[in-house]
Structures are given as C-alpha cells and as structure tokens.
C-alpha cells in the first residue's frame, strides 16, 4: 500500500496516474467493503471524474497541492456540498448539505480525492461504531471485533487500504480510540487549531476534526493541510499555517516523558499496561527520559466529560425536528410539539436519545449548578493539573484505550461499560490539548494496542517528532491486517 507521501511524489514524477491510484483504491474497496462496512456513501463516480481532471492538469504540468491525487475518506459528520452527510443517523439519512466544511475546501485545494463518507457511531456518540443507523463497521484485524469509535469507518478504511488517509473527529477519543483499535496513527489536535465550520456538532467545546493515517508522516501532512485559522469559526485560533512534516526527525534525546498513574487505573488490561510500558522504555532507549507522575483531578474526568458533552449535545441536536430537512413523518392532525416528538423518537437511535435526555436533565434549572457548573469547575482543575505536569515534562505517555478491541455486541447493551472505555482519552479533550495515538504493539492474539502521547497546546510538532522516532525504530506500522 502506498503512503500519501509516495503517491504525491510518484504522481508528480509522472510515474503514476491519479486515475490508477483511485481505481486501485476502489479495487480494494470492492474486495473488503462487504466485510468491513467502512463507508456510508461511496463516491466512486465522483472520485474517478476528479481523478481524470487531476490527471489532465498534471499532463499540462500543473501538479499543485500537497495531497495531489491522494484518496481521502471523510467521516460522515463533516459537511460535503451536494453529498449526503448523515452522521450515521436515520434523522439525517437524506440530508445533503448546501456547503462544504472548511476542511473539505482545504483538501480540495490541495488536490485530494474524496473516496467516500465513512461510517461512525450515530452523531459520534460511541466507542465502537455499533450505534450507526447503517450497521456496524468491523475491525480489519479481527472481523468479530469492533474498530473502535466513533470514527470507526475512517480508521478501518485506512487500516484496510480502502483509503490512504482519512478525516475523523474527536470529542472524547473518537479519533484516537479507533486509531488504537485499528493500529493506525490518529491525532486529536489542540482545540482551535482546525476549523469546526462544517463539522456537525456533538459537543462543540470538546471536539476537533483530525487526521488519521497509516504512518506519522502522512498524519503530519494531512494535519498541515487542514490546520489554520478560519474566520467562520470563532473558536479557531489565529496561528500561521505550518508544514508539520519538517519536524519529523528521529530525535528524542532529552525529551522528558511523564507517565501519569491515573491512566493505568482499574479497568486497564494487563497486556495494555505492559505494552505501553514497553513503548515508554523503548523511547528511553532512544534517548528520552521518563518519570511517573499524578494528575489527581483526572478521577473526575469521565463524569465531567459526559455531563458537558451530553449537555451541549442536548442543545446541538435540538434542531433536528423534521420541519426543514432530514427525516420527517406524515403530518397528522396534531400540534407541532407532538409532531416533533414523533420525528425525534423515530429518527434518533437509543444511545442518542439517552444522551439528549441526560443532557436536558443536567442543564435544567435546579440541576444546572449541581452538574453542569460543577463539571466546568472540574474541567478547570484538570487543565491546571496538566499545566502543572507540563512544567516537569515535555509530553505525557499513556495507553490510548484501557483494553484491546472488544467483540461486536460485547458491550453495546451496557452503556456504562462503554462510557468507561473513554477514560483515557477524555482528559485531552477537557483540557483542549493535542493528543496522538500510535501503534505500539499487539497482544498475543494479534490485537492492536495504541500508545497515547499528550503535549501542551499547539505542540503537535513535538508529538509528531516523538511519534516519528518511535515509529522509525519499531516495526508496528508495517504490519498489515489479514483482511487484505
């Protein structure tokens, strides 16, 4: 499988045509998609048409763009003009946006080819891609297991070669969890570094769009394309665009790594703990220093995360009422409140309804102070704990997920158990910090384990450098799932 970097250079040299690349990608899709279900919408015709256009301009010597000819998969909560964007929900199953998200504009400007829209947990609410209205996505490493979530379709597509790179979104771990479960690289950027304009909101104050790729270079490349200030997103930070690939060198000498003990709590499986520690020691061998540390406020992270996320979600998802777009019901002779209730009861899946109801509760008067405001206070404490830790350390290392990928259906009936899976990923979202998950080994039965690295705000460069050094000195990214 070619990397994005290789594709761009071979297209530029004339060695390969974009059409050939795109065709071979759809070849792969046709072989594995039946088993994996990575995509909600496959854009074969559109992608081939675009490939021909790109080839045409290449033949005239016009090869512009850092992703020229690269097949990209896009999570189905990112708006694409004229192409249905469903959030894997029945309520948006027929919704075609009239505009492109900022990240889509940026991809197209750089010559990327969008292959399709990927499956996800409904409205990004889940860790297994099982809550999708379009059926679950399966893990390419073990078809009986989940790919993680909520960006499970993007992760599985990249792991199986159904796309070269992908966009995901991460509200509480939705990029890093599936990256870990599918043994790829996934970055949750610093809050405010990538425009959210066109990302269908689940929990605005927590989420970011981020890159997913098979190696660190491609991840950094895709991040360089999508990051940058956008006046249409008031929370986007005014930073100059950067080429993050220039930071990729094998050098971790003197890098101070903190290993917070809170990330190795009760639910952490031994095999994960051991594999992550092995990775830390590997980095030490490569010249980094490490020490253990503690961020005591993390004890409350999961609770605070769910209160904030559900509260925001209950408001964000209020607009789906069947009056203007999306799923609708037959109008009967009732008032509109009855109509709206019916649309929402039938249009949303049970997990989404659960979170809307809980979020409505936590924002209601009388409970607001007890839940929402308290969660905001916890959030501040967590931010402060991280700030303190970053006075001592350059980066923090931890497991991305407490367990390897679990079986389909194993946890779906038990929401609390599912929520517990987010325990190691939500702290970075609450604190707005950049966090990357990279492959760091396999269990004896061949299931992937991910290493999570967290850095201070806007230090993606440091994350990429440490991750790159680790990757270059280990062989995990070269492993390919059997499904291929």
């Amino acid at each position: 499988m070619l990397s994005a970097r290789e594709i761009v250079s071979r297209v530029k040299s004339g060695e390969l045509k974009v059409t050939e690349i795109v065709e071979s990608t759809f070849d792969r899709v046709s072989k594995t998609e039946d088993r994996l279900n990575c995509y909600v919408t496959i854009l074969q015709e559109e992608a081939l048409k675009r490939a021909r256009l790109l080839d045409e301009s290449a033949s005239k010597g016009k090869v512009h763009g850092r992703l020229f000819g690269v097949p990209v998969a896009v999570k189905d909560n990112i708006c694409t003009k004229g192409v249905r964007t469903t959030c894997s929900s029945r309520i948006l199953a027929n919704f075609k946006p009239v505009y492109n998200a900022t990240v889509i504009e940026r991809l197209e400007r750089e010559g990327a080819v969008i292959i399709g829209k990927t499956n996800m947990d409904e409205f990004a609410m889940g860790v297994s891609t099982e809550t999708s209205y379009f059926g679950p996505t399966r893990n390419p490493w073990d078809l009986t297991r989940v790919p993680g979530g909520s960006s499970g379709g993007s992760a599985a597509a990249v792991a199986a070669g159904e796309a070269t790179v992908a966009l995901g979104s991460d509200t509480g771990g939705s990029i890093r969890c599936p990256a870990s479960f599918c043994s790829i690289v996934g970055l949750k950027p610093t809050y405010g570094s990538v425009s959210r304009y066109g990302l269908i909101a689940y929990a605005n104050s927590l989420e970011q769009i981020g890159p997913m790729a098979r190696d660190v270079y491609d991840c950094a490349l895709l991040f360089s394309v999508i990051a940058g200030h956008d006046p249409r997103d008031s929370t986007s930070v005014n930073l100059k665009p950067k080429d993050y690939t220039v930071f990729l060198r094998e050098e971790v000498k003197g890098v101070k790594i903190g290993v917070p003990k809170e990330f190795f709590g009760e639910g952490t499986q031994k095999v994960v703990e051991e594999t992550v520690w092995k990775a830390v020691h590997k980095l030490e061998d490569l010249g980094a220093e490490y020490d253990t540390c503690s961020l005591p406020s993390l004890e409350y992270a999961l609770a605070a995360y769910y209160i904030i996320a559900m509260s925001e979600a209950s408001s964000n998802l209020a607009r789906y009422d069947g009056l203007r777009y999306g799923y609708s019901e037959e109008f009967t002779d009732t008032d509109w409140f009855t109509y709206i209730a019916k649309v929402r009861r039938n249009g949303f899946g049970p997990e989404v309804r659960r979170r809307i109801i809980l979020g409505t509760f936590t924002l209601s008067s009388g409970y607001y102070n007890r839940y929402y405001l308290k969660a905001l206070k916890v959030r501040t404490l967590i931010r402060m704990d991280f700030e303190k830790a970053f006075k001592r350390f350059d980066v923090l290392a931890a497991p991305t997920m407490p367990t390897p990928p679990f079986k389909l259906g194993e946890k779906i009936e038990n929401p609390l158990e599912l929520y517990m899976c987010d325990i190691d990923t939500v702290p970075a979202n609450l604190a707005g910090l950049p966090s990357i998950s990279i492959p760091c080994g396999f269990t004896t039965s061949g299931l992937p384990v991910g290493l999570q690295l967290i850095a201070p705000p806007f230090r993606e460069d440091l994350l990429f450098r440490v991750a790159y050094t680790f990757e270059k000195n280990t062989g995990y990214v070269k492993e390919e799932p059997e499904v291929i």
Binding site: T85, P97, V98, Y99, I200, A201, S311, S315, A318, L363
Partner: protein, 465 residues
C-alpha cells in the same frame, strides 16, 4: 446595521420573497457556526451608555433552549444575567416627562440576541389551519431593553417607548421607520393579581390599547373575586383582545448555558471610551440646543425632538430660511396634525423642507395668505409638488390689483344693497362686505387692501348722500 448578528446576510429583509434572505448560518444548518458582528456590539454598548447603564466589559452569549418553529436551531443565542452570564449593560435609567414632571424609569438590562424567523397564520392565531415560516428575519440583531416596574399607566408606557425610540434613532442604532424594527412585550401587574406578559404588539398605539384592555380584564376578574393567572398572552390586534398563550406552569425551562461556539471576549476601556465619545447628540441635549439656538419654547422643542426625523426636518428648514419660530409653528400645527390625522410618518409624506420653506416665504412676501397656505399644504404633503406650482394651477395667487378688487366691490355692493346701507350707518358691518369679496375670490383678495377700498367706496357714498 447592515448585516445580521452572526452571519453576513443583509438585515434589511423587507420586500424580499420569503426565505430568500438566508444563508446556512442563519438557517441553523448542521455544522454552521455563528460569528459575532462587531458593529452590533458597538451599537449595543452605545445604546447601553445612552440609557445610563453600567457597561460590562465581558461579552458572553448564552443559549436559550426551547422548541419553536420560528427558531431554526431550536435555541436562541442570547445573553443572560444569571449563572455567570452578563448582559452588555445593567442598571440604567431613562428620564421621561409625565404631566410636566420628570420621571426616571429604571432599566434593568440591555442585551443582544438574535431574532427568530416569522410565523404567518391564516387569520387569527388560534384558528389558523396552518403556519408558514419565513426565516428572512432570522438572525437579525435584536437589542433587548428591560425596564423595571416603574410605569403606572398605559400612557406612561407609550411616552417611554417614544422616548426610547427617539434615543435609539438619534444614536443611529436602528431605523424606526422600518416595520417591526421596534417591538415590545408589555407586562401588567395590578394589586391583588399576578404579572401577565403580552406579546405580539406591533406599534406604540397598540401598546396603549393592549395594556388598557388587559388592565380592564384583570380588574374585572378581581372584582368578581377570580384569580389573575401568571401567564403570557397574545395581543390580537384585529379583535383588540388578549388571548392566553401559556400559563406559568407551562412556561419553559430555557436551560440557559454558555454558547460554546462563541468564546468570551473582553471590551477594553479604550473601546468603550471610543464608542461613548463618538456618540451622537441625544434627544435631551437636542431639546436644550433647540431652546437656546432657535429660541423655541420647551414644549415646542420637545414635540419636535420626540421624533428624530421631525427634528431633522425642522433643522433642514431652518438652514434654508432662518425663521425657526415660524417654521416650528407650521411643523407642529399643520404638518404634524395632517400626518397624525392621516396616520402617516414624516418620511411617508412627500413634503420637502425646501417646499415648506418656500410656502412660508410666500406668506411672508404677501403672495398668499395664511389661509391659502393651509389649503396648499396638504397637497404638498401628498403630491410633493412645489407650492408655487399648486398656487398657479389653482389660481390661488393673491389679488392685489386695485382695479380688479374695485370691480368686485362694485358687484358686491350691487348684490348687497341692504348690507351697504347698514355699513353706512354702522362701521362694524363693513366686515360682511369684506367677507363677500373674499368669498368671491376664494380668499385670494388682499384683505387689507380690500378693507381699505371698501371703506373708500363707502366714504364716497357718504359724501354723495
């Protein structure tokens, strides 16, 4: 303000086809984000300062959550005064004049929010078979001004609203001539009852009517020893009654929380200072200036300034003809009366300052009489014609030709022999003869000249006798 509060759509939606003045942001489409219009914040700060409010340096927006078809997101981005929220301005006041006494009406808060769309019904709200929604208005910046319960009558409410409108118009914050530019929710609470809010009131006149109706309704209930419920009612302008929309028990829990898509932004002192110092002249100051500069009585100055466009009109006239008192008299009496009687605003009339001044000059130069002018003015207002043109067309120019008048006197004398006899005996009876000449000329004959000529003729007759 030219654009909506959180997107670039024009804020003037009037005359546009429904749902054409919209974009993904003000339609609340999935994935869109609001961006605050800086000009709106500037105007809000200016308005808060003009209403003597404390200006808060932290600008925060909150979401007010409720389901209603006119809200495309089913929440409204607004400001809030609890749970850590802060409106732009708090604790201000406006001074109004009630029966010649000054009265302070306290302002609780001034805040910014987005306008919902507009619902259209077929007939009255409670009988319409369907509801149509137009989002052209959705997302327009609304400045909400909340007064404390300091008003004691429907009339005071109307006086306050006029004053507020004049202040806001002087600031250039909005154009009061646009339909729906200023809206009002009125609250009534009388002793022994509860607070009732009335929504959907379209004009100042309607505010007074709705409040009057509501007070009578509540008094009536109380006199029958029935309870006045804490509720929200809808003013039905056509039937002139209020209809219950929802009671307190049905009031929504709005689940306010900070808008996560809009970070807090801070107004520094220089920003506030700049805004306040660039504030245009406010009505109270203008009244003082009118008194001093033009020598107008306080009452006149107040009447003119009550409507910024009237005051502007007046000043335009004075610039063209430095006769402020004369101009003010014409504006205040004939112009305003005509507008009021015909339910017109000054901008709806076609009267230009140039023409009004010309008309006054014609009187001053003896070309027409005041009475003729009063006849010419309505036509000037309706058609926008030059007074000279109207006078010419209708042949209204004053007759000052001695010959012409003498001929008329001759006819009048012949037709009114009895009156001539009387006048010869009694000087006072001459007025009847003057009146007859004026009637024949439809008021065009120079009255003084006519009077003198008749006297001359009578004297001749006396001598002849």
């Amino acid at each position: 303000m030219k654009t909506k509060l959180f997107c670039g759509c024009p804020s003037d939606y009037r005359g546009k086809k429904p749902n054409t003045n919209v974009c993904p942001v003000c339609l609340g489409l999935p994935g869109t984000l609001p961006v605050v219009n800086k000009k709106a914040v500037e105007y809000a700060v200016m308005a808060a300062a003009a209403l003597n409010c404390k200006i808060n340096h932290k600008i925060l927006f909150f979401r007010k959550n409720y389901f209603y078809p006119d809200l495309p997101k089913n929440f409204q981005i607004s400001q809030y005064d609890r749970a850590g929220g802060l409106p732009i301005g708090t604790d201000g006041y406006v001074e109004i004049k009630v029966k010649n006494a000054k009265k302070k009406v306290r302002i609780g808060r001034v805040h910014l929010e987005e306008d919902p769309g507009r619902l259209t019904y077929l007939g009255p709200i409670d009988r319409s078979p369907y509801t149509l929604v137009d989002y052209n208005r959705s997302g327009i910046a609304l400045l909400e001004i909340v007064t404390l319960p300091d008003l004691n009558s429907p009339k005071e409410a109307r006086i306050l609203l006029r004053k507020l409108r004049s202040i806001l118009e002087h600031l250039g914050v909005f154009d009061g001539s646009l339909e729906g530019a200023m809206r009002c929710d009125a609250n009534v609470s009388i002793e022994g009852g509860s607070r009732v809010e009335i929504k959907n009131i379209s004009s100042f006149k309607e505010v007074e009517r709705a409040l009057t109706y509501e007070i009578i309704r509540q008094r009536d209930l109380l006199s029958k020893e029935r309870r006045v419920l804490r509720e929200t009612r809808h003013w039905d302008e056509r039937r002139r009654v209020t209809i219950s929309l929802r009671t307190k028990e049905e009031e929504q829990d709005y689940r306010y929380f900070p808008e996560p898509d809009l970070p807090v932004f801070l107004l520094d002192d220089t920003f506030i200072k700049n805004v306040v110092s660039s504030m245009p002249e406010l009505p109270d100051a203008r009244i003082e200036r009118f008194k001093k500069m033009y020598g107008l009585p306080e009452y006149d100055a107040e009447v003119l300034v009550a409507d910024k466009r009237i005051a502007d009109f007046f000043e335009e006239c004075v610039k063209l003809y430095n006769q402020p008192k004369k101009i003010s008299n014409w504006v205040m009496s004939d112009v305003l009366r005509y507008l009021y009687e015909n339910n017109l605003e000054i901008h709806e009339s076609k009267l230009s300052p140039k023409h009004l001044v010309e008309m006054i000059k014609m009187i001053d130069e003896g070309e027409i009489s005041g009475k003729i002018a009063k006849k010419v003015l309505p036509e000037m207002i309706v058609t926008g014609k030059d007074p000279r043109e109207i006078v010419k067309e209708k042949n209204l120019l004053r007759i000052s030709s001695i010959q012409e008048i003498k001929a008329l006197i001759k006819t009048v004398f012949e037709e009114n022999r009895k009156a001539v006899e009387d006048a010869l005996k009694d000087e006072k009876a001459i007025h009847f003869l003057v009146g007859q000449v004026m009637r024949k000329t439809r008021g065009r004959a120079d009255p003084e000249l006519t009077h003198n000529l008749i006297k001359e003729e009578l004297d001749k007759l006396k001598k002849a006798n």
